[in-house]
C-alpha cells in the first residue's frame, strides 16, 4: 500500500474481546503482571467492579497488530495510552483509530471502546514510513 495517509483517515474497526477468565489468567502468566485485581473476583468486588477488569496492557497489545494490518508500510515509533475505564471479563470492545496529524510522522488516535461511557483505552501511535517502503 503506497497511498499516503491523510488527516482524518480511519482505521478499520476491529473487535476486541470479550476475554474470559482463562484469557486473563494466560495474560497474567505470560506478562508476569499477577496483580490480583485481575484474577480475584472478591478483590475486584471490593474495588467496585462486577467482575475483574482485563489488564489494560492486554488491550494495548491489540493496537500494534491492528496498525500493522492497516498500514504494513509503516513502523511504530511511539505508543502511548491511558486506561480510562475498565473493561471487565466477559465484556466486548471495539478498536478504532483516526489520523490526527500528518507531517514527518503520522499521529493516529486509537480508541478501545467498551460498554462504558468512557473508552477502556485512549491511545496515540506515532507511525513513520518503514525504511525502503
Amino acid at each position: 500500500m503506497t497511498n499516503p495517509l491523510a488527516r482524518g483517515d480511519k482505521m478499520p474497526e476491529t473487535p476486541v474481546g470479550p476475554f474470559d477468565v482463562a484469557a486473563v489468567a494466560a495474560y497474567a502468566a505470560a506478562s508476569g503482571d499477577d496483580n490480583p485485581l485481575h484474577l480475584d473476583p472478591a478483590l475486584a468486588a471490593r474495588a467496585g467492579f462486577a467482575a475483574p477488569p482485563v489488564h489494560g496492557m492486554r488491550l494495548m497489545a491489540e493496537i500494534a497488530p491492528a496498525l500493522a494490518a492497516w498500514r504494513p508500510d509503516m513502523a511504530l515509533k511511539r505508543l502511548t495510552g491511558t486506561f480510562v475505564e475498565p473493561l471487565l471479563i466477559g465484556e466486548a470492545a471495539t478498536l478504532s483509530g483516526r489520523v490526527l496529524r500528518v507531517d514527518d510522522e503520522i499521529l493516529v488516535r486509537v480508541t478501545v471502546q467498551g460498554p462504558r461511557r468512557g473508552p477502556s483505552l485512549l491511545a496515540e501511535a506515532i507511525l513513520v514510513p518503514k525504511e525502503g517502503a
Binding site: 503482571d33 474495588a47 496492557m57 497488530p65 515509533k77 511511539r78 502511548t80 491511558t82
Partner: protein, 134 residues
C-alpha cells in the same frame, strides 16, 4: 529517562538489570496476546518490569497499603527489538502524592550502549482498607 539526568528527591534507581527477548518468553507472550508467531509484540517489553528483583523493588515502593492500578503506559521504540537479544535495562521510580501514584521510567539499551527503547509506566495507587476503592 536519560542516563545523564540527575535524580530528583524521592526518586529511586532500579537496576541495571539484564533483560532479553528470549524465544520462550516471547512465544508465551505472543500466544497470550494472540500475536503471530515469530514476531516480538510491541508491548512485550512490559514483561521486563516483572523481573523478580524489579517487581520486589516496585512492590516496596508501592507499600502494603495500596493497590496499584495501571493508569497509563508509553513505549518509545528507538531500535527494533530482535529475537534472542540481551539488553540492559535501568529504571527510575518516583512516588507522587495527591493523587497517590508511582511513575516508573525505564530505558533498555543494547550492550553497545545504544538505546533500544524507553517506557514509562504510571500506576495509580488505590488505598486499601478504607474509603473509595477499598
Amino acid at each position: 529517562m536519560r542516563a545523564e539526568r540527575s535524580l530528583r528527591p524521592g526518586e529511586i534507581v532500579l537496576g541495571p538489570f539484564e533483560v532479553a527477548t528470549g524465544a520462550s518468553e516471547v512465544q508465551a507472550f505472543a500466544t497470550a496476546v494472540g500475536a503471530r508467531a515469530g514476531e516480538i509484540p510491541a508491548t512485550f517489553p512490559i514483561v521486563w518490569l516483572s523481573a523478580p528483583a524489579l517487581k520486589a523493588a516496585l512492590r516496596e515502593a508501592v507499600g502494603p497499603d495500596f493497590l496499584p492500578v495501571h493508569e497509563s503506559q508509553s513505549f518509545d521504540y528507538v531500535r527494533p527489538l530482535v529475537p534472542g537479544a540481551a539488553l540492559r535495562m535501568s529504571a527510575v521510580a518516583r512516588r507522587e502524592s495527591a493523587p497517590e501514584r508511582l511513575v516508573v521510567e525505564a530505558e533498555a539499551t543494547e550492550f553497545s550502549g545504544a538505546r533500544a527503547l524507553t517506557m514509562r509506566v504510571a500506576l495509580r495507587l488505590v488505598p486499601l482498607g478504607s474509603g473509595e476503592g477499598a
